[in-house]
């Protein structure tokens, strides 16, 4: 109701701001990058909004996602073209491997591309500066680190599950494409900064997951897909309902605006915020996210979905989808609504304890391996929730550390499940293992048994392995913040969970049966991959410091937004100007926000205090812009720009060459098409950069 009213009234408000420097211009100034920033001096002087025509350089933060979506579309077109006459053409293995390589490229872009990690260099001293696409995307370390981890683990997933697609008779080419779409959603969720984008990206994930769960179209698979669909759509509608209530109360969907409203409410309580309504809205949103994470009262769908859907789909749901949803939780709880912690702390603690308990108790009598793993994931998410509810400083990084370590252990155990194939005539039961099937595995393949044992010990949290580290951090955290009962319960739960992990090890090593199941041998590539996982779990305990430092850095920069060292390619004076300009902009922004709320400096202040102070700041901004333009004209060295452009182009070409080298002997047109797609992307980026350079040159000629 009020939302539509706001849309209608905002037209009038836009009319009010026309002769003053409009807030939109300020937002544009924050949104644009170093390169376009110089042209903004002109914008401020001309009081026009021409800036919308210039593509801000920060929009290129999504280049890996562009690459991934282009690759998906190419692959879709190509596979349709190849299979339109013969639907059962076996290209699923190739396609999956190609997607693995694409995910490696995407991870490489996140790791060292200049354009994507551009946000590093531009990290601002305030929390309200680092967006692209008009506040829809928040750029930051947390997002980039998470996206890197997701892309690496999904590359591993694609490469390992490639062969099993043939075994499971998942011959349709849509399978890998749907997984890739889902990964695209996972990558977009990490950056999402408004409720609409987060909702849509979650939908992209879950819609393709429903199709993946029911892909086999057998009785069981259809049932699991239907269950997943019903539960998932109910949770999505909860999310929408909660966000509509939030919009009703604050009339904004951007998380940044919520931060501005609620994060800094030390001195005053906003008068007419209805906190009961926000309580309800937040509960709905968090509950929907809990359903997606399969926390305890809402975990019942996950048992059937993991067990009955095709094994490679279950592998995907169990390992890769968790991290980005946890990041949304962290973002909402710790960054945006931290001051309203009285609303959500109880929810987190209660749900966390319930899922740790039920996850531990439910697996005790479980005979099927995949259902047992789903119980294990429920209990592990419970640990993360309790740590978030503890509200300590180190909670964010402890949770991230825990989730990432669990993700890698999950990759390890699920790839073990997928590469140990039973010798059975019925193909669909090759992967549906019961624990008893593993009994004589040590006679068949003893190194495989060893890796099973190491992985299970790591999942149980036995000290010399990696799985111990996050658990001890979380439990000590919980005890430090005086949740003694929760700490004791966590220890008890982990003891109970250890029972069922160790029962599998008992079956593996000490079961004396006359007969057992036979297994196929394992290919060299998969054995190398799995042994590298096992070594990761074994030896990286020494390097926990390194991992933890990385996560402390990421989370601290995320929480407190400390200024990142700005690159020294720019002249020193320029930095000074920029910093001043930034401060002024921020103060103007807060001034406007304060005026909206109806705040006054003091009771005696005149009625037109706002206009006067705005005019003051406005004049200073113009002065500063002129000075900066003069400096720019004199120095003419601003321009890491050309160098920057060359660098970016070189990097792209390098990746393209890499791909070409890897796939040149590979007689399949997909690689060709992808490489050509990358070249066009490179040309596109170069064209846009050239255009920006041309604009800069015009600016220089005019004498600013």
């Amino acid at each position: 109701v009020y939302g539509f009213r706001n849309i209608l009234t905002s037209r009038l408000i836009a009319a009010d701001y026309q002769d003053v420097i409009s807030e939109f211009a300020v937002v544009v100034m924050k949104d644009t990058s170093l390169v376009v920033r110089q042209s903004l001096s002109e914008i401020v002087l001309a009081k026009s909004l021409v800036a919308r025509d210039i593509i801000p350089l920060k929009s290129f933060i999504l280049i890996p996602e562009y690459l991934l979506s282009t690759a998906i579309l190419y692959s879709l077109i190509l596979s349709t073209w190849l299979t339109h006459n013969s639907y059962n053409l076996m290209l699923q293995k190739t396609q999956s491997e190609v997607f693995g390589v694409i995910m490696i490229i995407v991870g490489g872009l996140y790791y060292n591309d200049v354009l994507c990690s551009f946000a590093y260099y531009r990290a601002k001293p305030t929390s309200s500066a680092d967006y692209s696409f008009y506040k829809a995307m928040l750029n930051g370390e947390l997002a980039i680190v998470a996206k890197f981890i997701i892309s690496v683990s999904s590359a591993i997933y694609f490469l390992i599950s490639a062969y099993s697609l043939t075994e499971q008779k998942l011959t349709a080419p849509e399978y890998s494409i749907l997984i890739a779409f889902s990964i695209l959603g996972l990558l977009l969720v990490c950056n999402g900064n408004d409720l609409l984008t987060i909702y849509l990206a979650l939908e992209l994930i879950s819609l393709s997951s429903y199709a993946l769960a029911s892909f086999k179209k057998t009785h069981c698979s259809s049932e699991s897909g239907l269950k997943y669909f019903i539960v998932g759509s109910i949770s999505s509608s909860f999310f929408l309902f909660g966000s509509s209530l939030l919009y009703l109360e604050t009339s904004s969907i951007y998380l940044v605006d919520y931060t501005d409203l609620f994060f800094f409410t030390h001195d005053y309580q906003p008068k007419s915020v209805n906190f009961d309504l926000i309580d309800v809205a937040l509960s709905f949103i968090f509950l929907s996210l809990f359903v997606k994470l399969s926390c305890a009262p809402f975990h019942l769908w996950s048992l059937d979905v993991y067990e009955e859907s095709p094994t490679s789909s279950g592998f995907y749901f169990a390992t890769i989808t968790k991290l980005s949803i946890v990041i949304v939780l962290i973002k909402l709880a710790f960054h945006v609504f931290f001051k309203l912690c009285f609303v959500w702390v109880t929810l987190f603690i209660v749900v966390g304890i319930m899922s740790a308990l039920i996850g531990a108790l439910g697996g005790v009598r479980q005979k099927k391996l995949k259902t047992l793993l789903s119980y294990s994931s429920t209990s592990n998410i419970g640990y993360a929730l309790i740590a978030l509810g503890g509200l300590t400083d180190s909670a964010v990084w402890a949770v991230l550390f825990h989730v990432v370590v669990y993700q890698f252990s999950g990759l390890c155990i699920w790839s073990l499940i997928i590469i140990a194939r039973l010798k059975l005539k019925i193909k669909k039961e090759k992967y549906n293992k019961e624990i008893g099937d593993l009994s004589l595995l040590k006679k068949v393949n003893s190194p495989l048994v060893f890796s099973f044992a190491v992985t299970l010990f790591s999942l149980a949290g036995i000290p010399p392995l990696l799985g111990f580290a996050p658990k001890i951090y979380i439990i000590s955290d919980v005890i430090l913040c005086n949740y003694y009962l929760a700490g004791i319960l966590l220890v008890l739960c982990s003891i109970i969970a250890t029972f069922y992990y160790i029962r599998i090890i008992k079956v593996l090593f000490f079961e004396n049966l006359p007969t057992g199941k036979l297994y196929y041998p394992i290919w060299a590539f998969y054995s190398v991959a799995v042994s590298s996982f096992v070594h990761f779990l074994l030896y990286s305990f020494n390097d926990v410091k390194f991992l933890s430092i990385a996560f402390v850095g990421g989370s601290a920069a995320f929480l407190f937004s400390t200024p990142w060292p700005i690159s020294n390619q720019k002249p020193e004076a320029w930095n000074k100007y920029e910093r001043q300009e930034n401060d002024l902009q921020v103060s103007l922004f807060y001034l406007i926000t304060l005026n909206r709320i109806g705040w006054k400096p003091s009771e005696n202040s005149p009625d037109n205090w706002y206009e006067e102070s705005e005019k003051f700041i406005h004049d200073k901004l113009i002065f500063l812009a002129c000075e900066a333009a003069k400096l720019f004209d004199e120095a003419r060295t601003v321009v890491p720009l050309t160098k920057f452009c060359r660098l970016a182009r070189r990097e792209w070409l390098m990746f393209a060459e890499l791909v070409e080298l890897r796939w040149c002997d590979f007689d399949f047109p997909i690689s060709r098409v992808i490489i050509e797609g990358m070249y066009t992307q490179v040309d596109y980026v170069a064209a846009v950069l050239k255009r920006e350079i041309a604009i800069e040159k015009i600016k220089i000629k005019r004498g600013y």
């Binding site: 849309i7 909004l49 977009l188 609409l196 984008t197 992209l204 393709s208 009339s251 209805n274």
Partner: protein
Amino acid sequence: MTRTLYYFFGLLLTLCAICVIAANNTVFSLLSLMLSFLSASVMLIILGADFIGLLLIIIYVGAIAILFLFAVMVAETKLTVSKKNNRTLSSPIGVIFGILMLLPIFEPIQALLFNSSEEYTSFLICTFELIGEIDAHNYGSVLYSYFAIPVLIVGMILLVVILGVSKLTNTVHKKAKTQSVFKQLSRTTKIR
């Protein structure tokens, strides 16, 4: 006057939504679904959002509901089955859960609805630059500039849905459950 009309159509919407669940005949429930869409669009038009209201009529009533009706009439479900279903067992559980879910929401909503004397002040008024005179103009200008990324993601979602549906309904495997067209066509109609 408009306020009374608004509440009237709100009441109608609620009644129709109950009818959708409660009606035994599938055709009746579909008709009441259409009526609920219509009343929702009238409510939107009363609030001043003409374009969205008309869109609701065109898309939901004009296309989707008619499609449903057509599908129901062609597919011809057995109406006697639903009468045998014992609803007395399952319905109280649903009602109890519904009430439990409504309880926390009820109080703040009530405060919102009945304290109309207080002037509603929003904190963050949206700063989108609206250029057009017509509503559709404004929606377009906002959608394609400020909400570019969500529009792109929606496109992706539609593609995923098309892919998934075409894969799941395409029966290449012989063991998959299919409808037998001959059996269905040879049935007699049972709408009373």
